[in-house]
């Protein structure tokens, strides 16, 4: 009988990604309803020392594979390691982050474990002893409630949505041998080019300042960069401004860009085409600044300012600077 709520913790260069704690706290909540244990799988090299940190967020036991072939992340090595320990322990539920790594790994695991997975969930609960996963579909234009008939019941959780609540548990470490077969490790990371800006990725940002067609050109974004610097925010963009070549593809928020859920999303000069709304409506707080009072973005906004953004934004930046001084 499958038992326990498991997570695949994510670390890079020996430091946990925030999603790992979000996963741990969420797993704890589910496991308490089931009266079961929370276990984490942690893969990497030289990472045994950090494993215990997961205990703070409710993890009872951490299965650690510490092996040079597990750093940096490759699908082949991590999928083999996680599948092995999962098969040996038969958890009821297996959660991963809907991060770039989690999405790459979870699909491969679904193939290895021949099970079902709900991707990018914004809520998970227990109903009649089974996982019920709630997730946006059609980029948030509707939601689906997903039940999984196979085992383990898998789900990936959208970063920045689930609170990383502290709940101290043992976090004991169990080492396991990932039994990696070098001949099966076919993918190699040749180079890691780090983004030098030091800004949070849009999918992990707490605050996003986003600009659309109303920015009138690439130079218009200077005022958004200034505001972002004051708020510690990341700058995003609409499809229109990315397609116009004003901003890089990696900045695009929307159905064919990044799906984001910051605490605060400030949309400047964005009309709110449905495909843009789809990418940002799970933001906790939305501000729209647009001179067109009829723009659909105002239907999603908690606060709206109808005016010329080139007049409002610099003043707003000044006010924020004062408040945060």
């Amino acid at each position: 009988m499958a038992k326990g709520v498991w997570i695949v913790a994510e670390q890079r260069d020996g430091a946990f990604r925030k999603i790992s704690f979000e996963l741990a706290a969420t797993a704890r909540k589910l496991a308490d309803q089931l009266g079961e244990e929370v276990c984490a799988v942690l893969c990497g090299s030289g990472i045994e020392g950090i494993a215990g940190q997961l205990g703070k967020y409710g993890v009872d036991k951490v299965f650690v594979a510490d092996n040079p072939a597990l750093e940096p992340y490759t699908t082949d090595a991590h999928a083999a390691a996680v599948a092995k320990v999962v098969k040996e322990n038969d958890p009821a539920i297996l959660l991963l982050g809907a991060s770039t790594q989690g999405k790459d790994l979870s699909g491969r695991l679904v193939g290895k474990l021949a099970t079902g997975l709900a991707t990018d969930c914004t809520d998970v609960k227990i109903a009649d002893g089974r996982l019920l996963a709630i997730r946006p579909m059609y980029a948030g234009k509707c939601f689906g409630e997903i039940a999984i008939s196979s085992s383990p019941q898998m789900a990936t959780l959208r970063p920045n949505v689930f609170p990383a609540v502290e709940n101290e548990k043992a976090g004991g470490v169990v080492k396991f041998d990932p039994s990696l077969d070098a001949a099966q490790l076919k993918t190699k990371v040749l180079e890691v080019q780090k983004d030098a800006s030091g800004k949070a990725d849009l999918t992990e940002a707490n605050v996003i300042v986003s600009g659309g067609r109303g920015m009138k050109g690439p130079e218009g974004y200077a005022i958004l960069e200034e505001l972002a610097a004051v708020l510690g925010a990341t700058v995003g963009a609409s499809r229109a401004s990315v397609d116009a070549g004003w901003r890089p593809q990696s900045d695009q928020v929307g159905q064919t860009g990044k799906i984001v859920s910051p605490n605060l999303y400030i949309a400047c000069g964005i009309s709110g085409a449905i495909q843009h709304l789809a990418g940002m409506s799970s933001s906790k707080f939305i501000v729209a600044i647009n001179k067109d009072a009829e723009a659909p973005i105002f239907t999603k906004a908690d606060y709206g300012v109808v005016d010329d953004l080139f007049k409002v934004v610099p003043e707003f930046t000044k006010e924020c600077k004062k408040l945060l001084a």
């Binding site: 940096p72 490759t74 699908t75 770039t100 999405k103 790459d104 699909g107 491969r108 679904v110 193939g111 021949a114 099970t115 079902g116 997975l117 709900a118 991707t119 990018d120 019920l132 997730r135 946006p136 059609y138 980029a139 948030g140 509707c142 939601f143 689906g144 039940a147 999984i148 196979s150 076919k186 190699k188 990371v189 040749l190 180079e191 890691v192 080019q193 949070a200 990725d201 605050v207 708020l231 593809q249 990696s250 064919t256 605060l264 449905i274 707080f285 939305i286 105002f298 999603k300 908690d302 606060y303 709206g304 300012v305 005016d307 409002v312 003043e315 707003f316 006010e319 004062k322 408040l323």
Partner: protein, 256 residues
């Protein structure tokens, strides 16, 4: 080079999605169906590769009868032939059932490289490529913005949070396409004419010997949660409105 591109027919990004009153699915009336935008990048990359190395591009789709339009679109862009896995039992299939059907279809043909979209914009599962690679026992590189094939080695650029990776793997391999990989071509008029005569093999699940059973099931579709009506900050002076916005975010919303 035997190149495969997997495609899915999905509602256009501008489509309004309405949930059926009983929550059993979405209303399909009035929806404009198109090739999944990420699959277009996959098809384009497949065609570019064929232009470089020679060979053949086979386009494979799992979907209802209307999905044939999407296969024809890929053929009109320049793919050579198609396989359409068409079976009512696969309607609403989950990622595992879909990937199993694709794997069975692709196992029957020579394949050196497979392109998929990084996700389909309808169910947004982002799983099929990876499951398919596993079922075929070949390496995957997912969500890639640059692809190169030199001396039998695939090299891709994969953006992750705060970094870009350069990843290498040998053939046969599966690659999932992200926006930025290329600019998909439009089908030319002669292309569209030629596409009508290109062969498409239609198969059902039984012919492929796969189970159409889904493991993950949408129990209920629901509309997105409604957002409470927002507050418009009024006034004539931009500076005063900016100040009020900052105050409200600080004192009421407590988000800055």
């Amino acid at each position: 080079m035997n190149i495969v591109a997997c495609v899915k027919q999905v509602p256009d990004t501008e489509a309004q999605i309405k949930v059926k009153p009983d929550g059993s699915g979405i209303e399909e009336g009035g929806i404009k169906w198109v090739m999944n935008p990420y699959d277009e990048f996959g098809v384009e990359e497949a065609l570019k590769l064929k232009e470089k190395t020679g060979g053949e591009v086979t386009v494979v789709s799992v979907g209802p009868a209307r999905a044939m339009e999407t296969i024809r679109t890929a053929l009109a862009m320049g793919a050579d032939k198609g396989i359409h896995v068409c079976d009512p039992a696969l309607d609403g299939a989950d990622a595992y059932a879909t990937a199993s059907a694709l794997a069975a279809a692709i196992k029957g043909i020579p394949h050196d490289i497979i392109f998929c979209g990084q996700r389909a914009i309808d169910d947004d599962s982002a799983q099929v490529g990876a499951i398919l690679a596993e079922l075929l026992g070949i390496p995957q590189t997912t969500v890639v913005t640059k692809f190169d094939l030199t001396d039998g080695a695939v090299r891709v650029i994969r953006p992750i949070e705060g970094a870009q990776l350069l990843i290498e793997c040998p053939l046969p391999a599966l690659v999932t396409a992200q926006k930025g990989l290329n600019e998909p071509r439009y089908a030319s008029l002669p292309g569209i004419m030629k596409a009508k005569k290109k062969p498409v093999d239609v198969k059902d699940a039984a012919a492929l010997g796969v189970s159409a059973e889904s493991k993950a099931r949408v129990v209920r579709f629901v509309p997105p949660p409604a957002r409470a009506a927002g507050k418009i900050i009024c006034g004539d002076d931009p500076a005063a409105k900016a100040a009020e916005l900052a105050r409200a975010l600080r004192e009421e919303a407590k988000v800055i």
